[in-house]
C-alpha cells in the first residue's frame, strides 16, 4: 500500500503571519485523494493559527474564499472537489482576491 502513496506539496503564501511565506509542507496521500481533501488536511493542522488571523472565518473553509492553484493553474471550487492529486503535484493557497 505504501508504495502507491503520492507525495503532494502544499505551499501557503502569507496566510499566517510570520510563519509561512513560501513555506511548503509535504503530504503523503493515497491515490484518488482530491485537492479539497488535501486542503482539509492542511486546515486541520493549522486551524488555530488561521483563526488567530481571523481571515478564514470560524469554519476554516479556505476553499470558499481563498485562491487555490494546482501546479500554477487556478482551480475553481468544483474542480477542487473533483480533481485527484498525483505524485509531485503542488497545491498553492493564497489569501482571498481583493483590491487590485
Amino acid at each position: 500500500m505504501s508504495t502507491s502513496m503520492a507525495k503532494v506539496t502544499v505551499k501557503f503564501h502569507g496566510l499566517i503571519m510570520d510563519k509561512d511565506v513560501g513555506r511548503a509542507e509535504e503530504n503523503e496521500v493515497t491515490p484518488g485523494t482530491t485537492v479539497r481533501a488535501v486542503m482539509e488536511l492542511f486546515v486541520r493542522r493549522h486551524l488555530a493559527s488561521l483563526r488567530e488571523e481571523s481571515l478564514s472565518g470560524d469554519s476554516g473553509k479556505l476553499w470558499e474564499t481563498h485562491v487555490v492553484m494546482l501546479n500554477g493553474i487556478g482551480l475553481v471550487p468544483e474542480k477542487q472537489l473533483t480533481t485527484e492529486v498525483k505524485e509531485g503535484d503542488n497545491i498553492s493557497i493564497f489569501l482571498p482576491v481583493s483590491g487590485g
Binding site: 503564501h13 511565506v21 474564499t65 492553484m69 489569501l95 482576491v97 481583493s98 483590491g99 487590485g100
Partner: protein
C-alpha cells in the same frame, strides 16, 4: 436644467478667475471627474496643443459623490493632455484633497495659461488668491506642504503640489497631496510648466444631497457589511501588496524589465515582510477599510526611513523590475519618489530599462557617471531616482520617459522598451493574462492596467476565467473598462468593488439620492461607455490609430520563458479585432457613427471628421 456643479476657471497668465456652472444634464451624461474632464478637454483643447505649453489646460475635478461621506467616494481626478503619451490623461488620487476641494464651494478647477513667476493658489471658502511661491520653488512635496500649512495656519487645509521633478518638467512627474499621488502620465510636469507649485484648499460648504434620508440609510447599510466581508477585511489589513505572492505564482510578475514572469526575491518582498515594518495603518477620507500602511525600513542604509505604502505597483517597480530584493530599499525609493514628485511605476520601469541597457552593453558605466546600474544594485537604483528627479546626467534622458530615452539611446534598445503610447507599463505581464494585453493597448492614457482591471483573469477571482485564452476577452475587457470609467468619474475607489465592498447597484442608488432622481445601473454603464468613446475620440483627433494600440515587441515576439504562461506571447491582432467589434469600432479602432449616435456623441464624432465626409 438646474445647475449642479460649479467650476472655478483660473487664468494664470492674466491672474483672473470666474465661476462657471455645469448643468445637471452634463452630470447625467458624463457623471463628473474623469468623464466631465474628458468633455471639457475635448471641447476646449485645440488638437496638437503642446502638453507643456501655456495653452494646455489642467483640470482638477471631483464628482457628485465626493465629500458626501459615502464610503470610498474620495478621489479627485486631474485631466490634461499628457506630456508623456500625448493622449488625454486622467490621473486620480485618494486621500483628503478631493473632499476638501468640494467644500470650498467649487466642485472643480480649470487651470489655464502660465504664470510669469512661480505661484500657488489659495482657495478658501470661495475666495481665490494668487500667492508667491518663489520661496517654495525647489522644495520637496513634503517641505512644500509643511511650509504652506505654516503660512496659512488653517488646520483643515489640504494641498496638492509638485516637487522638484515637476518644476523641471520631468515627464514622469506626478502631483502629490498629503502622501497620495495623482501619479501617472506627467500631470506634475504640466503643473510645473505653468509655474504653479501648489493648490491649497479649505472650506466648510456642505455638499448637496437632495434626498438625505435615503442616502444616509443606503450608505449606512453598505458600511454595515464591511466587517462581515472577508475580502474587504483582508484588503484592509494588507492593502494591495497582498497580491505580490499571488501574481508571482501565476507567472505574470514582470521581472528584470519583463525578461521573466517570476521573481526569485519574492520571499523577501511581500506583504508579510511589509507587515513586520508597519508602524500604523493609514486611511483616506470616510473609508471604513483603511488599506494604507505607514511602513518603516528596518535594516541597512535605509533603516528608519518611513513611507506611506509602498503599494503593490511600487513593490514591483523597485523590486522585481529592478531585480532588487531589498524591501528596505523599496521603502526608501517610494519615499524619495513622493518627495521629488515622481510616479513610481514609470520611474521604476525606466530604471529597469536602463539596467537592461547597461547589462547588454548599450549604456557604459562612464555614460552613467560611474553608476554601476546592474540589476539588483539597489543603492544605484535609489541614486538614479534622484538623478531623474533633478535631471542630472543620464537622469535627464530618462526624465523624458522611457520611449524617448530608447530613441535617444538607440542600438536596438527599442526592442525591449516597455511602454504603450509612451506610458511605461505596470506590474502585470499580459503574456499570461491576455485580457490585460487589450487593456494595455487601448487604455486612453497609454500603458495602464487600472482603467479596466479584470480581477478574474489577473488574480483568479470567481467565476473562473482562463487567463491564457483569448476567447471572448474583448467583451470582458469592455465591461471592466466601462465600469471603471463610472467609478473614476464618480471618484469611487476601484478597490472595494473588486472586494465585494460595493457594486454598481449601490453606486447607482447613492447617486440617485444625491441627484434626487432615479439612475439605473444600466444608465451608469452606458455613461461609462460614452466616456470611454469620448476619450477615444480625443485621441483619434490627436492622430492615434490602431497602429498605436500596440504592445512592446518583447510581449509579441518573445515567449514567456517560465511559469504557467511559459511559451506564450500576446496574440494582439486577434484580441484587438474582437475588442473593436465588441465596441462597435471599425477595423482601424475608430468609433463608428452608429455607436456614437447611440451614445449621444454624434456631434463630437462629426467634429473629428472621422470619415472625411462629416457624416457621423
Amino acid at each position: 436644467m438646474p445647475y449642479f456643479f460649479s467650476l472655478l476657471r483660473v487664468d494664470l497668465t492674466q491672474r483672473k478667475f470666474r465661476e462657471e456652472r455645469i448643468d445637471e444634464s452634463m452630470i447625467l451624461k458624463f457623471l463628473g471627474g474623469r468623464g466631465l474632464g474628458a468633455k471639457i478637454l475635448f471641447d476646449e483643447l485645440e488638437p496638437t496643443t503642446d502638453p507643456l505649453g501655456a495653452e494646455n489646460k489642467l483640470l482638477f475635478l471631483t464628482g457628485p459623490l465626493i465629500g458626501t461621506g459615502a464610503p470610498w467616494c474620495v478621489k479627485y481626478t486631474v485631466v490634461t493632455r499628457s506630456p508623456l503619451s500625448g493622449t488625454i490623461l486622467m490621473s486620480l488620487a485618494g486621500g483628503f484633497f478631493g473632499p476638501r476641494l468640494r467644500c470650498t464651494g467649487y466642485d472643480g478647477l480649470i487651470i489655464e495659461g502660465r504664470s510669469e513667476e512661480s505661484i500657488y493658489l489659495w482657495i478658501d471658502r470661495g475666495r481665490v488668491e494668487f500667492r508667491k511661491a518663489s520661496h517654495l520653488w525647489g522644495m520637496t512635496t513634503e517641505e512644500c506642504q509643511e511650509e504652506i500649512h505654516e503660512e496659512l495656519r488653517e488646520p483643515r487645509v489640504q494641498i496638492a503640489c509638485i516637487g522638484p521633478a515637476g518644476e523641471r518638467a520631468v515627464r514622469l512627474a506626478c502631483i502629490i497631496s498629503g502622501r497620495r499621488a495623482a501619479g501617472r502620465g506627467g500631470a506634475g510636469a504640466v503643473m510645473g510648466s505653468k509655474n504653479l507649485k501648489a493648490i491649497a484648499v479649505n472650506g466648510t460648504r456642505k455638499v448637496p444631497i437632495l434626498e438625505p434620508q435615503g442616502f444616509k440609510e443606503l450608505q449606512m447599510a453598505i458600511r454595515k457589511e464591511v466587517p462581515k466581508t472577508d475580502r474587504l477585511k483582508v484588503f484592509g489589513k494588507y492593502g494591495t501588496p497582498k497580491n505580490l505572492l499571488l501574481v508571482n505564482e501565476r507567472g505574470i510578475f514582470p521581472t528584470r524589465n519583463f525578461q521573466g514572469g517570476m521573481f526569485e526575491g519574492i520571499g523577501q518582498v511581500n506583504h508579510t515582510e511589509q507587515q513586520r515594518r508597519v508602524i500604523r495603518f493609514v486611511t483616506c477620507h470616510a473609508c471604513p477599510v483603511a488599506c494604507g500602511n505607514l511602513t518603516r525600513a528596518a535594516e541597512g542604509p535605509y533603516k528608519g526611513i518611513t513611507t506611506e505604502g509602498p503599494e503593490y505597483e511600487t513593490f514591483w517597480a523597485f523590486g522585481a523590475q529592478c531585480g532588487n530584493s531589498s524591501i528596505d530599499a523599496i521603502i526608501a525609493a517610494d519615499r524619495l519618489c513622493d518627495q521629488l514628485g515622481l510616479d513610481t511605476i514609470s520611474t521604476g520601469n525606466s530604471i529597469g530599462f536602463a539596467m537592461e541597457c547597461m547589462e547588454r552593453g548599450l549604456l557604459k558605466q562612464e555614460e552613467l557617471d560611474g553608476l554601476d546600474l546592474r540589476f539588483g544594485n539597489h543603492s544605484a537604483m535609489v541614486e538614479m531616482i534622484r538623478r531623474i528627479g533633478y535631471r542630472e546626467g543620464i537622469g535627464d534622458i530618462l526624465a523624458e520617459g522611457v520611449q524617448r530615452a530608447a530613441d535617444r539611446i538607440g542600438k536596438g534598445s527599442q526592442n525591449f522598451v516597455m511602454h504603450v503610447k509612451g506610458l511605461e507599463l505596470p506590474a502585470y505581464d499580459p503574456r499570461g493574462a491576455k485580457g490585460m494585453g487589450i487593456e494595455y493597448a487601448t487604455s486612453p492614457r497609454g500603458g495602464c492596467h487600472e482603467r479596466g482591471l479584470i480581477s478574474r483573469e489577473t488574480f483568479g477571482a470567481a467565476p473562473y476565467l482562463d487567463p491564457l485564452s483569448i476567447e471572448g476577452k474583448g467583451a470582458v475587457v469592455k465591461e471592466a473598462q466601462d465600469e471603471t470609467a463610472v467609478l473614476d468619474s464618480l471618484g469611487v475607489c476601484v478597490f472595494p468593488p473588486h472586494s465585494d465592498g460595493m457594486d454598481i447597484e449601490d453606486i447607482a442608488g447613492l447617486l440617485s439620492f444625491v441627484l434626487g432622481k432615479s439612475i439605473t445601473p444600466e444608465e451608469l454603464m452606458e455613461a461609462g461607455d460614452r466616456i470611454w468613446n469620448l476619450e477615444r475620440l480625443f485621441n483619434t483627433r490627436e492622430g492615434f490609430t490602431r497602429e498605436d494600440d500596440a504592445l512592446p515587441a518583447r510581449l509579441l515576439k518573445e515567449p514567456m520563458p517560465e511559469g504557467p504562461a511559459k511559451g506564450h506571447v500576446v496574440e494582439l491582432d486577434q484580441l484587438l479585432d474582437d475588442y473593436y467589434l465588441t465596441r462597435q469600432w471599425d477595423s482601424n479602432g475608430i468609433p463608428t457613427p452608429e455607436v456614437l449616435d447611440k451614445l449621444g456623441l454624434a456631434q463630437e464624432g462629426r467634429s473629428v471628421h472621422l470619415h472625411g465626409k462629416g457624416d457621423c
